[in-house]
């Protein structure tokens, strides 16, 4: 049975992100097609994983979805709005409000405390006052079990803790989509399980969409749906078949 069809029919869920015929070339050192005709839809509250062999184009696709990479063919839509062709400043604003990121190497600002790191995207958004943001950031850290670490400098935390701070930061603006490029790639199995549970929770409880690249088969299997890439093409987007 197809998850995609099941979801649309049963829940009447909305498409949050979709691509139409996405293609991407690299020209250095030789012309090379990294993405070929990639089309798919991601739904509200869906926990989506991207898998495929190394070099299949997973990261390349994720960077296109993230709006950070703008040099591609085809079209990208987020919340029904066409993203392709927008100006860098508009894209920055869209990212700030709608997309949260988690990377394999956590990338926190080392001089800032965990709390301040988490607050950064919200302060950029400027929707709430400083105290309110501080409170929200503290709440997010609490969800991730890090309330005790809030005032420590980010550089003083363990890898798993840093990754959770990065997730809290990605969630601070309650984005529609949370993206991760091998978010558990650097973590041991225990910490990976923690991150997985968090992802599961935010997608099912808060209705946020998750798009995560992973090499971890268990991680992918447990997600709602898996898209498999090979040589830049989607070869499978049904979870059951992937199994």
């Amino acid at each position: 049975m197809n998850t995609l069809i099941e979801k649309t029919s049963i829940g009447g869920l909305e498409v949050v992100l979709s691509t139409r015929n996405l293609g991407k070339y690299f020209y250095d050192p030789v012309k090379f097609k990294a993405l070929d005709n990639v089309s798919f839809d991601a739904y509200e509250g869906e926990f989506l994983t991207l898998v495929g062999k190394s070099g299949s184009g997973k990261s390349t696709l994720l960077y296109c979805l993230s709006t950070m990479d703008t040099v591609y063919e085809g079209e990208l839509y987020i919340k029904g709005e066409k993203i392709t062709g927008k100006k860098p400043d508009e894209l920055a604003a869209i990212r700030n409000e709608n997309i949260g990121f988690v990377f394999q190497f956590h990338y926190l600002l080392p001089e800032f405390t965990c709390l301040k790191n988490v607050m950064i995207p919200a302060r950029r958004l400027g929707k709430y006052g400083y105290e309110e943001i501080e409170h929200k950031a503290y709440e997010k850290l609490k969800i991730l079990g890090l309330q005790d670490q809030a005032l420590k400098p980010a550089s003083k935390l363990s890898g798993g803790q840093q990754q959770r701070v990065a997730i809290a930061r990605a969630l601070i603006n309650d984005p529609a989509i949370l993206m991760g490029d091998e978010p558990t790639g650097n973590l041991d199995s225990k910490n990976s399980a923690v991150v997985f549970d968090i992802f599961k929770e935010i997608s099912s409880q808060y209705g946020q969409t998750i798009i995560a690249v992973t090499h971890d088969n268990d991680f992918a299997k447990a997600s709602d749906r898996t898209i498999e890439l090979a040589d830049g093409r989607i070869i499978d987007q049904d979870k059951k078949d992937f199994e």
């Binding site: 960077y63 990212r95 700030n96 990121f101 990338y107 800032f112 950064i120 958004l125 400083y130 930061r169």
Partner: protein, 410 residues
């Protein structure tokens, strides 16, 4: 309202990189300090030399210039040419009808002061000792007002000459060489052979040996007698205007009143002024170069910060900071370095100026002619900040162009 996030990040960078911040700020401090000091030095010097000029130059003078004889040519058609030596044909340096001209000049709205003067070549004698110099016939009260002569009187006073047709005020050099003091008699001979025994009613010392060793003041009518001229003879009109630094437009207006030569002090002292200009240009260029080098310090330190913080920049851009935000972050860092550096620089410059102004140069100069000039402080501050901003802008622009995808991919 709480601090802006961009400013917060900038301050955090500055705070966690204190050493680099201090190095960059120190560069700016030295640049601004040297700029302020060198230009104050220069301004002090220029002011000193123009003050020297104004000791015996008015802003504008009117006098009769030498006329050159015109070649005599016959009618062109004859093909004949008469070749002669051009020669000075001036018979007298006299200004005709000086009272009317003086009155006309004084009625000009931009003229603050105007006086007439009669000059003559004078020989000061005592026994066999003789000094050659110039006598100036003036209305001493008006003259003293115009040239601040009272300031330079070392004996007697300028009022003593008023109405005293036999009185003379001489330079200190003449007084020393002839060992004549106040109330002594001095024999003055003019080039027209007039000899007068006069009473010294005052001695001045301007510090310029050219003045002090040659100049004397007498009443106008006395001077007219020395050159065997009547009471309407005047050789020069001295005119002061509202704006000493821009006499050119006034010269043009005054020239419409008379056919005599109207000349401003800049023209008369072109040699001194061009010396000043050369020095100003050199000092300006050197101090500017120091300031620019300081700018490179900021540029370097900011560039290295950006290379070190490239991950931070990428993550900020990924979370929705746009190019402008990134530029702001690093510009703010440059401004902080600039403000610290400029403030310390102004302090440093002030200390140097204070030290310099207490150095006694001796002679007519006295203490080193340097002072605190607000405009120079303002200019140093603005330039210091401007250089910092420029030096900060280029690395900041580079930071804004960081492509996060490239950073995350590595």
């Amino acid at each position: 309202m709480k601090k802006n996030i961009n400013i917060d990040i900038a301050f955090t960078h500055i705070y966690t990189r204190k050493k680099q911040t201090m190095v960059a700020a120190l560069g700016v401090a030295i640049g601004v300090g040297m700029y302020l000091f060198m230009n104050s030095l220069d301004a002090g010097f220029s002011k000193y030399s123009t003050d020297e000029i104004f000791k015996n130059n008015a802003h504008i003078k009117i006098y009769k210039n030498d006329e050159i004889s015109k070649p005599l040519t016959t009618d062109d058609s004859s093909g004949l040419r008469v070749i002669i030596n051009p020669q000075i044909t001036t018979l007298s340096k006299k200004i005709i009808n000086p009272e009317a001209l003086l009155a006309a000049v004084k009625s000009q709205p931009y003229v603050t002061n105007a006086i007439a003067q009669v000059n003559f070549d004078a020989y000061y004698n005592r026994g066999k000792a003789q000094i050659k110099g110039t006598g100036n016939g003036v209305n001493m009260i008006e003259y003293a007002q115009m040239f601040n002569t009272d300031k330079y009187m070392v004996a007697g006073n300028t009022e003593a000459l008023q109405g005293n047709l036999n009185g003379i005020i001489i330079g200190s050099g003449i007084s020393e060489k002839l060992s004549l003091g106040i109330n002594d008699n001095i024999t003055v001979t003019s080039s027209f052979g007039i000899v007068k025994v006069m009473k010294i009613v005052g001695i001045f010392m301007t510090g310029s040996s050219m003045n002090d060793n040659t100049k004397s003041y007498v009443n106008i009518s006395t001077a007219q007698q020395f050159i065997k001229e009547g009471p309407s003879f005047v050789s020069t009109l001295f005119i002061n205007t509202r704006d000493a630094n821009n006499p050119e437009p006034f010269v043009q207006k005054l020239q419409q009143l008379t056919s005599y030569t109207v000349e401003d002090w800049k023209t008369s002292n072109a040699d001194v002024l061009s010396g000043n200009n050369t020095r100003e240009t050199m000092m300006g260029a050197i101090s500017m170069a120091i300031l620019i080098v300081a700018g490179f310090g900021i540029y370097n330190i900011l560039s290295s910060t950006i290379i070190q913080k490239i991950n931070d920049i990428a993550i900020l851009k990924a979370t929705g900071f746009n190019g402008n935000d990134v530029v702001k972050i690093f510009i703010v860092e440059a401004i902080i370095m600039g403000i610290i550096g400029t403030a310390v620089g102004l302090l440093l410059g002030s200390v140097l100026i204070a030290i310099m102004s207490n150095i006694y140069m001796g002679g007519p100069v006295g203490y080193f002619p340097i002072g605190f000039e607000l405009t120079l402080f303002i200019r140093s501050f603005i330039l210091g900040m401007l250089i910092t901003l420029c030096a900060g802008y280029f690395p900041a622009r580079k930071a804004a162009k960081v492509d996060p995808v490239e950073i995350f991919r590595k």
